[in-house]
C-alpha cells in the first residue's frame, strides 16, 4: 500500500467511500477520522457532522462500555476485534434494505475492528467495517422456524393431531425416570375404542377416521392441562397422568368412559355410537422401566375388554 500512484489513490478513496459496506475509523480520543457513504446514508448523519467529533457523543445509542473496551483493546493489543449479529444484532440502529419484504425491524450487522498502524507499528486509529447481514439473519430465522415446525410435526399423529406413539413413549420414559429419581406419583391410562373394526367394516374407513378424530378431541378436552394424550396405534389411545395416584386415575378414567359413551359421531347423516374400554395402572418403583407400566395398563385394558367393555379396570 506504499507506492500508490495518484490515480490508484483516488480509486481507493472512491472504493472506500462507495463500497456497499460501512467503513469508519476513530483515533485514540474516539474521534471519527473516516465516515464513508454507506455510514452517511444509513445513519442520516453526514461525514462533515461526525469527522473530528467523539463517536459516542454523536451516537448515544451505541453500547458505550462494551464498544469502548473493544476499541481500546485494539489500540493496546494491536489485534482485530469483532461483533457478530447472532450475539449483538447491531451496533448502529440502521434501517434495513427490506422496507417491503422484510420481517425484521433493523439492519443486522457484523463488524470487524482493524488496527491501523503507523510506520513505527503503533496503532493510531481503529478502522471499523460494518457488513449488512440482514439477509443471512432472515434466512436463519426462517430456517429455525421451519426446523421447529418439522420437529413439532414429527411428534404428531397425522390423522388426529395428538402426539404419536414415538413421542408419547419418549414423554412416558422421562416421566417414569422423574418419579423414580425424585418420587411422586404417576399413572397411565390405555383407552381403546370398542368394536372399532365393526365401524370400519359397516360404515367405511372414512367414517372410522371421523370417529378417531372426534374421540381424540373429546379425550383431550376431558383431560387436565398437565396430562399428555397420544395415539398409540389403530384405535388405541394413551394418556399419561403425572402426579396422579391410582384412585385419582380411576375417577378420571370413569369420567372419560362416560364422556365417550355420551357422544355419537355423525358421518353422512348416520349417527355412530362410540364407547371405550380403559385400563389404568400406577407407577411402582419396582417397575424400573416405563415398558412395565405400559404392560400393566395394557393388561388392565385386556381385562376391561374381557369383562364386557365400556368400563375401567386397574392393573398392577
Amino acid at each position: 500500500m506504499n507506492d500508490l500512484s495518484p490515480a490508484s489513490t483516488s480509486l481507493l478513496d472512491f472504493l472506500i467511500d462507495r463500497i456497499n459496506i460501512g467503513i469508519f475509523a476513530v483515533n485514540r480520543n474516539m474521534e471519527c477520522t473516516l465516515w464513508n457513504c454507506f455510514m452517511e446514508s444509513h445513519s442520516g448523519v453526514a461525514a462533515a457532522s461526525v469527522l473530528g467529533k467523539n463517536l459516542f457523543q454523536c451516537f448515544d445509542e451505541l453500547p458505550h462500555n462494551i464498544l469502548y473496551h473493544k476499541i481500546n483493546s485494539v489500540f493496546i493489543l494491536k489485534n482485530f476485534a469483532f461483533t457478530s449479529w447472532e450475539q449483538r444484532p447491531y451496533l448502529f440502529k440502521f434501517r434495513h434494505h427490506r422496507p417491503v419484504t422484510g420481517p425484521v425491524e433493523h439492519m443486522y450487522q457484523d463488524c470487524t475492528f482493524i488496527p491501523l498502524k503507523d510506520e513505527a507499528g503503533e496503532v493510531q486509529q481503529v478502522c471499523v467495517t460494518l457488513v449488512d447481514v440482514t439477509d443471512t439473519a432472515v434466512y436463519q430465522k426462517m430456517m429455525k422456524e421451519a426446523m421447529a415446525s418439522l420437529a413439532e410435526a414429527s411428534n404428531r399423529d397425522g390423522l388426529t393431531g395428538i402426539y404419536n406413539r414415538r413421542f408419547i413413549e419418549e414423554i412416558l420414559n422421562k416421566e417414569c425416570q422423574r418419579v423414580q429419581r425424585y418420587g411422586g406419583t404417576l399413572s397411565l391410562a390405555f383407552i381403546d375404542l370398542d368394536h372399532f373394526k365393526k365401524i370400519n367394516d359397516t360404515h367405511g374407513h372414512l367414517a372410522g377416521d371421523n370417529v378417531l378424530r372426534a374421540s381424540s378431541t373429546l379425550l383431550s378436552e376431558s383431560l387436565r392441562q398437565s396430562d399428555f394424550l397420544g395415539r398409540y396405534g389403530g384405535e388405541e389411545f394413551v394418556a399419561i397422568l403425572p402426579a396422579t395416584h391410582i384412585e385419582g386415575a380411576h375417577i378420571l378414567a370413569e369420567r372419560l368412559c362416560r364422556h365417550m359413551a355420551g357422544i355419537t359421531v355423525q358421518y353422512n347423516d348416520i349417527d355412530i355410537p362410540v364407547t371405550a374400554s380403559i385400563g389404568i395402572a400406577e407407577w411402582q418403583p419396582t417397575m424400573v422401566r416405563y415398558e412395565n407400566l405400559i404392560k400393566a395398563a395394557d393388561h388392565a385394558l385386556y381385562q376391561a375388554k374381557a369383562e364386557g367393555r365400556n368400563c375401567v379396570r386397574r392393573g398392577t
Binding site: H69, N79, A81
Partner: protein
C-alpha cells in the same frame, strides 16, 4: 516422532520457542493493561502432534476439567492456522465487568463475552509472534467449536484434514479471579513449511 518433510529443525524450534516466549511475555503485559489485572501465563509449550492422538493431547492440556467450551479463530496471510481457546465450564463470568459487560449476562451476551475474551487472548499472542517474524496477520471472527463437551469429544480424529500439526500451547489465569483458559495455536502441515521459511529469515537476520 517422525514428521518427515514438514518437521522443523532443532534450530528452528529453538528460535520459535524464543519468539513465543517473548510474545507471550508481551501479551501478558498488554492483557494486563486491557483487563486491568495481573495476568499469569505458563511457559509456552511447542510440540508436533499426530492427528490420531489429538484427544489425548487435549485431555492432557485441560486436565481434570469435566466439560469444556472451545472457541476457534482463523488467522492467515504469511502463514495460516487456527487458534483454539478452551474454557472450563465456569469462570468466565467474573471477567464480564473487566470487559465492559454488565451483570447479569443473558445466554447470548455470555457467548459474546467468551468471543471477546478468546479474541483478545488469540490476538495478543499471535500478534507478538507475527511482529517478531515480520509478518502481518489477518484474523477472522471467532466462532464456537463446542460448548460444554467432554475433552474427548472436541475433535473427531478420523475427519481431520491433516496428519500432523504444530501446536503452541499456553495457559492463562488472572490474579484474584477464577478465570482460567488454555490457548492452543495450531498450524497444519503446509503451514508449518511456511512458518519454517519465516523462521529461517529470522535466524539469518540475527
Amino acid at each position: 516422532m517422525t514428521m518427515n518433510n514438514a518437521n522443523l529443525s532443532i534450530e528452528q524450534i529453538d528460535a520459535l520457542q524464543e519468539i513465543v516466549n517473548i510474545a507471550m511475555g508481551q501479551a501478558g503485559d498488554s492483557l494486563a493493561r486491557v483487563l486491568d489485572s495481573f495476568v499469569r501465563l505458563s511457559v509456552p509449550r511447542i510440540r508436533l502432534i499426530n492427528a490420531p492422538q489429538i484427544s489425548q493431547y487435549i485431555a492432557e492440556i485441560v486436565g481434570d476439567a469435566e466439560q469444556i467450551t472451545a472457541m476457534r479463530q482463523s488467522f492467515y496471510n504469511n502463514f495460516c492456522g487456527e487458534a483454539l481457546t478452551l474454557f472450563s465450564s465456569e469462570g468466565c463470568r467474573d471477567l464480564a465487568p473487566l470487559m465492559g459487560y454488565q451483570q447479569p449476562l443473558d445466554a447470548e451476551t455470555e457467548k459474546e463475552l467468551l468471543f471477546d475474551i478468546s479474541n483478545i487472548l488469540v490476538g495478543a499472542c499471535l500478534n507478538g509472534i507475527a511482529e517478531q517474524l515480520g509478518a502481518d496477520l489477518n484474523f477472522s471472527a471467532p466462532s464456537i467449536m463446542a460448548a460444554n463437551v467432554a475433552s474427548s469429544q472436541l475433535f473427531s480424529p478420523d475427519t481431520l484434514p491433516w496428519a500432523y500439526a504444530l501446536q503452541v500451547e499456553v495457559n492463562f489465569s488472572l490474579e484474584d479471579h477464577k478465570f482460567k483458559s488454555h490457548l492452543i495455536i495450531m498450524l497444519a502441515e503446509d503451514a508449518i513449511i511456511a512458518l519454517g521459511d519465516s523462521l529461517n529469515s529470522f535466524i539469518e537476520a540475527i
